[in-house]
Symmetry: C2
Subunit: 195 residues, 2 copies
Amino acid sequence: MPGINDPHAQLKKFITDRMAISSDHLAMLCAKFRVKSTQRNEILLQAGDVCPYIYFLNSGCLRVFLMDTKGKEYTRFVVTENRFGTAFPSFTLQEPSLASIQSLEPSEVLYITYYDYQSLNDAIPGWDRFNRIGLEIDYIASIKRIESLITMDAKQRYKQLMETQPTLIQRLPSKIIADYLGISQETLSRLKSKK
Amino acid sequence: MPGINDPHAQLKKFITDRMAISSDHLAMLCAKFRVKSTQRNEILLQAGDVCPYIYFLNSGCLRVFLMDTKGKEYTRFVVTENRFGTAFPSFTLQEPSLASIQSLEPSEVLYITYYDYQSLNDAIPGWDRFNRIGLEIDYIASIKRIESLITMDAKQRYKQLMETQPTLIQRLPSKIIADYLGISQETLSRLKSKK
């Protein structure tokens, strides 16, 4: 029931800030997103499984990460509130995921299945455009990530993260930040203390 | 004039293979793409400039690359025939580009301005969807590139390239391949000789 505790309120704002949509279509769309509360460190997707959902975060933080054969973890993306996130290749191609998804903090997430999400393209005028523009933003972010991985050293990557997402550095464990930057925890400590 | 030498023939096939489009809309679209022949090593975009065009390659090969303050180059993407390519963040946001674009081989390219490309979204039904699906593919490729940069060593990256784009290795100078893989030319020679 909508109201001050409407779990779909942030999603509605996110969408109506970005596209014109009728209230009927918005209600239909929201009905396809279910709500879930997650615990710290809960695994939402295990590598090897097909990712069934795309998430919208009301609160909290998810990370998408890879693990090599020796058990070393690599954080591919971090998703925070008022953002969509998923293991994109697996969700989009509906094939087994290389990455896992973990809730780093107790979080409230909305989630929708692949088939329901796809059905919105035909059901809601402008949904393709909404997605096209969202993908442009995500694709640009991933290109910038590639640029930082191929051209920057540890110090430059840390500086970039400080400039673009300073709250992440305060909020997340050092291990996750080091891992996201592709540097050791020792190097991260040294960079933090120099600041 | 359309015919066996129609420079827009490959673009038309690329589009009609992927979406339903009327012949009027297809003709209108093609009229916005101009043709250009490039020379080996010609620079199509200089870093610092706003990227005015997105390209469709009829033949040849472009690379999108970065250069650091010491003049070292880093290849971000390689685009071959029957693909679209541009310095995506600069083109999409119409802001100065960090990357340059270079024609690695004598190439025939079609090119369209940002404003003409944007106008297709409103003019052509289904163009948003065509772009949304193309972006999904490009975004997945960039995620896989991030994965390979953060989790793989030189040998694994070379093996992956051999499996996914073997012709690139034969076709491009060793310097560019080494640079794309983020490894030294010496390491690449060693990997090549091992087979």
